[in-house]
Amino acid sequence: APKYECTDPLGCVTYAPGEPVRIASALVISGPNTDLGVDSQHGVEIAMQFRGQLLGHDIELQAEDDGCSAEGGQTAGQKIVSDPTIVAVVGTSCSGAGVPMSEVISEAGYVMVSPSNTAPSLTNPDEAWKPGYLRTAHNDKVQGKAMADFAYNELGVRKAAAIHDGDPYTEGLAKVFADSFEDLGGEIVMFTAVNKGDSDMRPVLAAVAAAGPPEFLYYPVFTAEGGFLTKQAKEVAGLENTILAAADGMISDAAIKAVGDAGEGMYFSGPDLSFSGDIYDKFLDAYETNYGSMPISVFHAHAFDAANMIFDCIEEIATQDKDGTIHIGRQALRTCLYNTKDFQGITGTLTCNQYGDCADPKISVSQLQNGAYVRIWP
């Protein structure tokens, strides 16, 4: 038989018979944001389980840690690209890790699909976008705007305040919310911040109360700070009637417990989680069996979709020898992924643009009612 010759400009990955197709994940699986990454990793693992084999090859996952930091992202990236048998990456969890990692991945000719990077800069070619980067997570611009929309139009509030905690994700989201809300004609009475790790939020809440008090208070932070803000807001004079709202950083079991009664009636923006369909039911079953609990954060579905997008493309573009050896062109894989159109995933119907924004940006708002998130909008 004629020997296969690789013509792909970025090179090819070849798997001999019996060798597994290797993909990597680079998610945050240590440190304070562990839940986020572990949940996504489980999503990838279930996708692998469902797929079983790719063109007669097993699939193997090399799980790396992005540490939720720029350094962590870069190191994980270097580790991945030092292994030529890895064909694609699901990651990163955190946008901060995504920026340097996408650079490493891109330069080495690999491809990565992030399940949970939401920073606008990552898919902006004038800022951080690099060829080979895609994501199934929504862009923050969408979520912030959606929340503003909901507050202004749906709840009819005109005075709002926003608080962030200095996290890039939180800050970005709060900013987009504030800008959008003002664009809609509302008034932002205060845009302020706390620090990660703070516990006494009363002074800042009192300042917010004194500034308005706002009808609506949006703090898209994570569980710990969010818990403090929620509980203490109820205790600060002037904020008794303010509507509280947070974002997907606080959509989790732990968050429900952390806010307790104080969170009753509070709103949460986030990717639409009312996933439905057979696949998702099967997914949840598998999740429960494998890990003994229901998903702990929101991005498992995005990771599942990301992995499946990659698998689909591999199946589409790989060339197979008679003996079962497969060859995957790296550029071909990239092109295929960027051309993804109407991909039917758990998170919706995904279509990627030329800068890798693939999400079907369905943002919903849910309300905490009797200790459970209930989707109320749209």
Binding site: D35, F191, A206, A224, G227, F228, K257
Partner: protein
């Protein structure tokens, strides 16, 4: 010429500029804020109460740093973990199960008592274990060595408890009877804040009396001054040091319970920032001094609570509360420039010869 130049105390000039600069900035900011008058006097009162409550917690934790520092001249980085371990354990093993079973609601104070005792026991046990394993063998080593083991112990315990109880934020139940507000000087304060402040003050005074008046307290002070001579008096130095750790840890354990009462959630990482703040408070007040730790704690709590709104808001600084730690540390520097020994620190002899 060179001589003349050297004679100028340019350091003094720079220091003068620095502190005058800070003071002018603070005054300017405050005046601007007051002119804008964004807050009612009730809000100001709130800020003060918040600050005092937070300060009480800092003070209680700071005691542990100050006691250990006074005796061993060592920054016990792991102290923040003594604080965390007690209440974290008590919350998971006691408070939440008691809440679930309804016991806590039917017997709130018995329950709270049990939680407190458990928290103290765990904190003290962790402290004694740490002292025995990581500090005692290094008592006479160069000073930075135990500092490093303390840092190591801090990491170790943090992640030990994370492994044990998980990384999630855990809720701490509300205690019936401590919910609500009471009127106070034209404003209302939360009952749990009152409890925090009162308990903290009682504990601080009690501890001070204990250290100054009782035999054990005096033996600790003697050990602090000179271990060999203390042994010559018949004092068991190891025991005295263990007691010191235990007292500090017990205070931290109580601080943990108060913290949980006010903030109602616990986490394996919850000790880190209060720990740093409390150590700052201890230094601010004059490390080694018990009243100093108390004063430092209250001051720091006040700076953090009132500072951003008073000093920064008027200057039009965005998100002033984000900078509260900047204020806290700047105030620390300011105080130390004026009083290098801290607010109540003992005069380190001007310079010994």
């Amino acid at each position: 010429m060179r001589q003349r130049f050297q004679d100028i105390d340019y350091l003094g000039v720079v220091l003068w500029l620095l502190r005058t600069g800070i003071i002018i900035l603070v005054i300017w900011g405050s005046v601007a804020t007051i002119i804008q008058n964004p807050y009612s006097s009730k809000t100001w009162m709130d800020f003060i109460v918040f600050g005092v409550a937070q300060g009480s917690l800092y003070a209680l934790i700071a005691i542990g740093y100050t006691l250990v520092y006074g005796v061993l001249f060592m920054i016990n980085f792991a102290h923040s973990e003594f604080f965390m371990s007690g209440i974290f354990t008590a919350t998971i093993l006691l408070a939440n199960p008691m809440k679930a079973s309804g016991f806590l609601d039917s017997h709130p104070f018995v329950g709270l008592g049990l939680i407190t005792i458990t928290a103290i026991i765990v904190s003290v046990a962790i402290a004694l274990l740490t002292e025995r394993v990581a500090y005692r063998p290094l008592r006479k080593a160069p000073r930075l060595v135990p500092l490093i083991t303390a840092i190591g112990a801090s990491f170790f315990w943090q992640y030990f408890f994370r492994g044990l109880f998980g990384s999630e934020v855990k809720p701490f139940p509300q205690i019936e009877g401590l919910i609500g507000k009471i009127p106070f000087l034209g404003t209302e304060i939360l009952i749990n804040q009152v409890v925090v402040i009162v308990v903290a003050i009682i504990m601080l005074i009690g501890l001070y009396i204990f250290v100054m008046k009782t035999k054990i307290g005096k033996s600790i002070r003697a050990v602090a001054e000179d271990k060999d001579t203390a042994a010559l008096m018949g004092i068991d130095v190891d025991r005295a040091i263990s007691i010191t750790f235990a007292m500090g840890a017990a205070m931290a354990g109580i601080a943990g319970v108060l913290y949980a009462m006010v903030f109602r959630q616990v986490h394996f990482f919850m000790g880190f920032i209060p720990g740093i703040k409390a150590f700052t408070a201890a230094v601010l007040g004059g490390i080694g001094s018990i009243p100093g730790a108390a004063v430092g704690g209250f001051f720091l709590g006040m700076f953090e609570s009132v500072g951003p709104s008073l000093f920064l808001q008027g200057l039009g600084i965005p998100a002033p509360h984000q900078l509260k730690d900047v204020i806290a540390f700047t105030m620390l520097v300011l105080v130390l420039i004026f009083r290098p020994q801290g607010i109540l620190g003992e005069r380190l002899a001007e310079k010994k010869a």
